[in-house]
């Protein structure tokens, strides 16, 4: 196993380099220009634009810029944002807590809803409960988050006036009232994302459990006289969870990537929002760093998922 992990990690290096090259090439060749921010502002004449372009280092050919960037990146220097002139790692650190507080919590909520819902729905297959859960999952899966987000804002913020929809990233949770404030401002984005995640996962849990329930080992467990609860939770569920756990592990990087649309709607200053704004403004250093971190996480969690597979299922051996 140790050798296997080591080999996978070594393979990851050329993979990441290839990703970084493709990504940087796309960014460099795309016609997005950071100076387009000035629009046709008559106060910023052409000479000024050229000087700024030079100060940003954009007058160098992109392969040189790529080599400079990747060299610094390897040493842990993510570069400086074109727009804020502050270090990209500062920007990411500022935003990570917001993303974890909203997207991360939503993911946990999603898993916590999906597990029981999927189990109930599989065990009581074709019952009214199963129909309700399956239909809800189907709807949740089909309706896009930008729609549910705006719907919640219109109902709870504008009609009922219960919740605000402008996320305050400076709020520090120190006591009960501030915790309530935090819950009030994050409950809508968490619900939107959590219910979406839950809808996706519920279907997997249900399908996977349904595959296992008719199998011989489950019948044997029943025949041994074990109770329904033990049979389902200890025997069938454990085996059904193998693909689900992999799926959950593979989904974790998306948490760090933020929820691009939802963060934008609720003004949560997270990583996703940073990525979108930076793409719009042609802030290459920020886009490149965020995409690379995301790529590294995906590669890492892929490995983790494969390792978990072996841990959960003793039949699988890597050598």
């Amino acid at each position: 196993m140790g050798r296997y992990v080591a080999r996978r990690l070594l393979v990851a290096i050329p993979t990441l380099i290839a990703i970084s090259f493709v990504m940087y090439a796309i960014l460099a060749l795309a016609p997005i220009d950071p100076l387009s921010q000035f629009g046709v502002d008559p106060r910023v004449p052409p000479e000024t634009r050229e000087r700024i372009r030079e100060a940003l280092g954009l007058n160098q050919p992109w392969p040189i810029r790529y080599v400079k960037w990747i060299t610094a990146m390897v040493q842990g220097d993510f570069g400086v944002s074109f727009m804020s002139r502050s270090s990209v790692s500062d920007l990411i650190w500022q935003r990570l807590p917001n993303t974890l507080a909203v997207v991360g919590v939503a993911y946990v909520v999603g898993v916590l809803i999906a597990m029981p819902a999927g189990i109930v729905s599989a065990v009581r297959r074709n019952s009214a409960m199963d129909h309700v859960i399956s239909s809800a999952a189907y709807v949740g899966f089909s309706v896009p988050t930008f729609f549910t987000g705006i719907l919640l804002i219109i109902i709870f913020s504008i009609k009922l006036r219960w919740l605000g929809f402008i996320y305050d990233s400076t709020l520090k949770v120190t006591d009960v009232p501030s915790l309530i404030e935090q819950l009030k401002q994050s409950i809508m984005p968490i619900s939107v994302l959590g219910l979406f995640d839950a809808a996706v996962l519920t279907r997997y849990v249900r399908a996977s459990l349904l595959e296992n329930l008719p199998l011989d080992y489950v019948r044997t467990a029943h025949a041994k006289g074990l109770g329904e609860r033990v049979v389902v939770l200890r025997h069938a569920l454990r085996n059904s969870l193998i693909p689900v756990v992999t799926l959950i592990a593979l989904g974790v990087p998306t948490v760090f990537g933020g929820a691009i649309v939802t963060e934008q709607i609720f003004r949560v200053p997270g990583i996703g929002e940073l990525l979108v704004t930076s793409i719009g403004t042609g802030d290459t250093p920020v886009v490149a760093s965020v995409v690379m971190i995301f790529a590294a996480l995906v590669v890492g969690f892929n490995l983790l998922a494969d390792v978990l597979y072996a841990v959960l299922d003793p039949r699988i051996r890597y050598s």
């Binding site: 990504m23 502002d41 008559p42 000087r51 500022q94």
Partner: protein, 591 residues
């Protein structure tokens, strides 16, 4: 496992690419440049004590990323810095300077400006302090000039530097600005958003190449009514009242929260419907959505628009045909049919600017206009309304084409000598602009043009590098907007022969139409050099009229300036100036 692994790696790269491509569609709307203005009449003073108000909540749907106005990349940055960093004078609502750090505005009459219009002497207020308690002096302003105009500082505000010979501080309250040539617009250096005064002590180590990564860019010390508490770039700025502010009764609010991000429609909801926000910037929302929100019985907001941003269509005088290869759209090429003034005039006569203004912009968005110079009032031409190029008349347009030999073919498209009236009409991606395109296209097709519409995201449209950009103008018509300054020089410059954009100047210059007319250049030279205000004004009007008569540009809408801001009905003391930042008078605001 190798294959599967590589497949996954490829998927990651592909997805990243897709995300990039998808997101590039949603670039920010083009920001237009507000320019500066100041009133002779002070904003209404409110009898209120300093710091008795709570927190003032401001919402911008573009988030500030830097707080040094000279390194700003957009209005959001300029405005967020304006609470701290002040210019010598602001541009008031009447298009005249309004003293801020200055004690009075220099004029020829009061002796502040020399007769040759080359030297301007500003008297500054005494006893002004920086928010850190140290004394402000004219030396700081002179230093700001050094910082701003050093080419290595690569500031975004150095546009005025070329005309300035020197800025010196003979004593603590006197600042002397000397221009290289007689400067009819002698308030050029020092007034408005581009001229925020930095503290010499804080920025002296940041001149030249060090300007770029200077930590002070994110936490500047200023003389303004508020000082910085916390700044998260791209998210939020928190300010506290500046105890050292020069007016002992101001500001009213104890603190300010300046939140950025999101979108314009929900910002409008936050100001007008929920009242969570006191001031919402640039509520660029379609008229049909914004108006009911603002005018509802329980509306919590008011919008008091000023106008001064010109939305217009440029006609390409160069030949954009792809078959020309490298010569495409170069100034020395000639457009196959727009070189015929009758075709240009027909396009102008088919532009229904009233429909565009009323249906798409509404009273909070803009008014129809048929001039190139739209502010300030004294420079606006009164001669154009009666011109045929300003009247929407499809019958006359058709007749004009018919009489000049442009005859309709079997498919309804007019042609002459094998040249068909087929045009591509481009703009930046934006719902209102695309609907404008639809209105114009429908009318053009009625009179025998074939129109292909095209749009590109703002991040690839407003740039000299993109083939889809406004600068290269690989199309026949293009539409966008830009703000206007208190002086028409900058606006008129963009139609002179020397300014024609082409590969020789890296597509950087401002005459995207590649229009060149010695008669126009003659009037422009008068605007540039004439020291007699009346003659200069007449020349500016004449230049404007040439552009309209010659159908060079089709003005559509005089849009709200600087932006359509929504203010809470509870907010008092707020006055809009079309020539300066939305927050130019924030020291006066109260509730």
């Amino acid at each position: 496992m190798g294959t599967r692994y590589w497949y996954k790696a490829f998927a990651v790269a592909a997805i990243s690419g897709l995300v990039l491509a998808a997101c590039a569609q949603g670039g920010p709307a083009a920001t237009t440049a507000p320019t500066a203005a100041a009133t002779a009449t002070a904003a209404p003073t409110v009898a209120s004590a300093r710091g008795t108000g709570g927190d003032l909540k401001i919402l911008y749907w573009q988030a500030p990323t830097i707080l040094n106005p000279h390194q700003a990349t957009g209005t959001k940055d300029n405005d967020a810095s304006r609470l701290m960093i002040e210019p010598i004078a602001a541009w008031g609502p009447d298009g005249k300077p309004f003293p801020v750090l200055a004690a009075e505005v220099p004029t020829v009459e009061n002796g502040g400006v020399t007769k040759d219009l080359k030297t301007v002497t500003w008297k500054l207020k005494s006893g002004v302090k920086w928010s850190d308690g140290s004394a402000f002096s004219a030396d700081d302003a002179a230093f700001t000039y050094t910082y701003q105009c050093d080419p290595k500082s690569a500031t975004s505000t150095d546009g005025g530097c070329a005309d300035v010979a020197s800025v010196t501080a003979p004593n603590a309250t006197t600042l002397v600005v000397t221009y290289k040539n007689p400067q009819p617009f002698f308030w050029l250096w020092g007034v408005g958003t581009s001229y925020g005064v930095l503290q010499k002590t804080q920025f002296s180590g940041c001149v030249g190449e060090k300007a770029k990564d200077c930590p002070a860019n994110l936490k500047p010390i200023g003389t303004g009514p508020y000082k910085l508490r916390e700044f998260k770039p791209g998210d939020v700025v928190l300010y506290d009242l500046n105890e050292n502010y020069r007016d002992p009764n101001k500001p009213f609010f104890k603190s300010v929260t300046f939140k950025g991000g999101g979108d314009a429609p929900s910002a409008a909801r936050a100001v007008c419907q929920t009242g969570d926000i006191d001031f919402g910037w640039n509520l660029q929302v379609e008229a049909a959505v914004l108006r009911p929100m603002v005018e509802a019985a329980d509306s919590k907001c008011a919008v008091s628009p000023q106008f001064g941003v010109l939305e217009r269509i440029h006609i390409n005088f160069a030949d954009p045909s792809a078959s020309l290869g490298a010569k495409r759209s170069e100034p020395d090429t000639k457009h196959p049919f727009f070189s015929d003034i009758n075709v240009r005039k027909a396009v102008a006569m088919a532009a229904n600017r009233t429909a565009v203004a009323e249906q798409l912009y509404g009273k909070y968005g803009g008014v129809p206009v048929c001039n190139v110079v739209v502010i300030p009032e004294s420079f606006v031409s009164k001669n154009t309304a009666s011109l045929d190029t300003c009247k929407y008349d499809l019958v006359a347009a058709e007749k004009l084409l018919q009489d000049n030999g442009w005859v309709k073919g079997a498919d309804g498209v007019r042609a002459k000598g094998g040249v068909r009236l087929e045009i591509t009409y481009q703009t930046s991606t934006n719902a209102v602009r695309q609907k404008t395109q639809d209105i114009i296209k429908a009318d053009l097709e009625k009179i025998g043009f074939k129109v292909t519409l095209k749009n590109a995201p703002a991040s690839t449209f407003f740039t000299n590098t993109s083939p889809d950009g406004a600068n290269k103008f690989f199309a026949d018509l293009e539409e966008f907007a830009s703000g206007q300054e208190p002086d028409p020089y900058g606006t008129l410059l963009g139609y002179t022969c020397d300014e024609r954009a082409g590969s020789a100047n890296n597509w950087n210059k401002g005459n995207y139409s590649r229009y060149c007319n010695p008669e126009y250049d003659k009037q422009f030279q008068i605007v540039r050099t004439e020291t007699d205000p009346a003659k200069r004004q007449a020349a500016a009007v004449a230049a404007n009229d040439i552009l309209i008569k010659d159908a060079v540009v089709i003005p559509l809408v005089n849009r709200v300036a600087p932006t359509a801001d929504g203010a809470s009905k509870l907010l008092k003391g707020h006055q809009t100036s079309a020539f300066d930042s939305s927050l130019w008078d924030i020291a006066n605001w109260s509730k």
